[in-house]
């Protein structure tokens, strides 16, 4: 077994384990357009990496994986750059607001409770809706009549009239929609706030939002999400290195080696899957994380204290 010492985390890790972990999360990233932070950080903590170092080093790794993934998706014509930029601007602004919200909540003393509840509700809600909706889609494909899908399909027409009145209408070609530029900006802000509160990149919230609210095609959603995540994580990596010294470079490089390859494989897999299949797989993953979090909240812990900064 080959081990390497992580100077910032202050621990050593099995090289193959971290390579494998990077590969797995990179694969998910390439398939679904999520950064995978919501999976990677808890997994790294399980292997003895301090939570702050796990989260910051993971951002560094996501930079590599999303570069690789964005490049692959760009070649397939799956990246809507103007849409990505609007979401990104909104996301950065929302993230800044979110950090202040967290500070306020911590001062009020109930932050942890609110974070955990937000997590479970968001994961459960997003995962549940996506799962149900894509199940309907898959059934329809197989010729099973799905009466419930009619109101879902008619929803956007009602919204359109209202949204078309907003200023700064722009035709997002790749996404196949003509909407106000304010819409992705506002959505970006909302996701940014949530992501900052939950301490994650927000890919798993952004993807369903793009699919259901902006009605973008699933494959363009994945590419555009990766594009947006790339820039968010560049910012996080530099800020974390500068102010908190929590980026462990050795850990990030090991994860990177696995995840950049995983992201390429993931993109290839994503190309072969139908949109509904992609959605149902992501929904299952999100629900799985939700169930794990719920069980953690409901079961009495074995050790009644935790180092501050952990979960």
């Amino acid at each position: 077994m080959l081990y390497m010492y992580l100077p910032i985390a202050g621990n050593s890790v099995n090289v193959f384990l971290i390579l494998g972990l990077g590969g797995f999360v990179g694969l998910l990233s390439g398939i679904f357009g999520v950064g995978g932070g919501f999976l990677m950080t808890p997994l790294l903590m399980m292997f003895g990496i301090p939570p702050t170092v796990a989260a910051a080093s993971d951002s560094n790794q996501i930079v590599g994986a999303s570069t690789s993934g964005t490049l692959a998706h760009m070649r397939l014509g799956n990246v809507d750059v103007p849409m990505g930029i609007m979401l990104l601007i909104g996301g950065v602004a929302g993230g800044t607001v979110g950090v202040q919200v967290i500070k306020l909540l911590r001062a009020m003393g109930n932050a942890d409770f609110l974070i955990a509840i937000t997590y479970v509700i968001m994961l459960g809600g997003v995962g549940g809706y996506m799962f149900w909706e894509s199940l309907q889609g898959l059934r329809k494909d197989k010729g099973v009549p799905a009466a419930d899908s009619v109101p879902v399909a008619s929803k956007p027409s009602g919204k359109k009239t209202l949204l078309q009145r907003l200023p700064l209408q722009y035709k997002f070609e790749k996404s196949g929609c003509e909407i106000s530029m304010l819409l992705p900006l506002v959505i970006g802000v909302l996701v940014g706030v949530l992501a900052a509160i939950m301490g994650v990149g927000g890919g798993f919230i952004m993807v369903p939002v793009m699919v259901y609210l902006l009605r973008m095609p699933m494959h363009v959603v994945v590419g555009t999400s990766l594009f947006q995540i790339l820039f968010t994580c560049v910012n996080v990596t530099i800020m974390q290195s500068y102010s908190n010294h929590t980026v462990d470079f050795v850990l990030a490089v090991l994860l990177l080696l696995g995840s950049t390859i995983g992201a390429q494989v993931g993109t290839a897999v994503s190309k072969r899957l139908k949109a509904d299949q992609l959605k149902i797989m992501l929904a299952s993953l999100v629900l799985l994380v939700c169930v794990k979090m719920m069980s953690g909240l409901l079961m009495a812990p074995a050790i009644m204290v935790a180092l501050k900064g952990g979960h």
Binding site: Y5, I8, T67, G69, D112, L297, V305
Partner: protein, 263 residues
């Protein structure tokens, strides 16, 4: 005037006490001056690129009729913890902030076989129950013994707290004393810093002698370079981390494009 007289009396009394106490103290220290030796195979451990914890051989001499306890301990620090508790009656969450002051970062004991009961205890100043006496907790209303016991569990999981029974072996007995040896575990979670290895000789429930050696853990090679850069030039470090990540992503992307061109 009265005050000055009293002060004078007190000073004379103190001087007499010191004069009398001197020979008594010397006699006493003579009585406990039993042979106790401790030697470490190495006083420095280098944490290099492929380091995954290590072991350290120690040996020494202890009086024939005494037992030896070895202790590895680290710098005392302030530990910030979250105590878990129930919220809304059914959700287990991190609730209260608790701070343990003067807590050793590392605390490992090594004892010979079959003698743990008489070698570890608060009256000897050895073991977790002895440790908790030196630790202060805030807020003071928190249950110190319970919180520290839970903290010990957490530290035992990462290997930096341990009580290793039957881990000291006795060798030949000579005129100078009884030889002992042990293999100390240095877990990878033990970070760079200065630690102490202490040998204590225990006889009839009393610690009769103690020797201490310094043990230095230091970063070397790649870990030392990275650590220096991360703490010394953090902005440059951040940009470098991003640059390498983007390059790796691009390189892998290009490699895959070459492979993908075939189909």
């Amino acid at each position: 005037m009265k005050l000055g007289k009293n002060r004078m009396k007190r000073m004379i009394f103190m001087a007499l006490a010191i004069l009398l106490a001197g020979p008594v103290f010397l006699l006493a220290s003579d009585a406990v001056a039993v042979p106790l030796e401790l030697k470490l195979a190495s006083a420095t451990i280098n944490i290099s690129t492929f380091y995954n914890g290590t072991t350290l051989e120690v040996h020494g001499l202890v009086p024939v009729d005494a037992d030896v306890v070895l202790q590895v301990s680290g710098p005392r620090e302030e530990v910030h913890l979250k105590e878990k508790g129930k919220v809304a009656g059914f959700l287990w969450m991190n609730k209260n902030d608790v701070v343990l002051e003067n807590t050793p970062a590392v605390y490992m004991l090594y004892t010979p076989a079959g003698s743990q009961a008489k070698l570890i205890g608060p009256e000897l100043g050895i073991g977790y129950k002895a440790l908790v006496k030196d630790i202060a907790i805030s807020p003071e209303s928190a249950d110190k013994d319970f919180i520290f016991a839970e903290y010990v569990k957490l530290m035992e999981e990462s290997g930096v707290y341990a009580i290793n029974e039957a881990s000291v072996a006795y060798g030949a007995t000579t005129a100078d004393g009884r030889e002992f040896s042990a293999t100390l575990t240095i877990p990878s979670k033990m970070t760079a810093g200065e630690y102490h290895v202490t040998a204590m000789s225990v006889q009839d429930g009393v610690v009769v002698g103690q020797v201490q050696e310094k043990l230095d853990l230091q970063l070397s090679g790649l870990p030392a370079t990275i650590s220096a850069l991360a703490y010394g030039r953090p902005l440059l470090f951040g940009f470098m981390a991003v640059f390498i990540a983007v390059s790796a992503g691009l390189i892998i992307g290009v490699i895959f494009r070459g492979g993908g061109g075939a189909h």
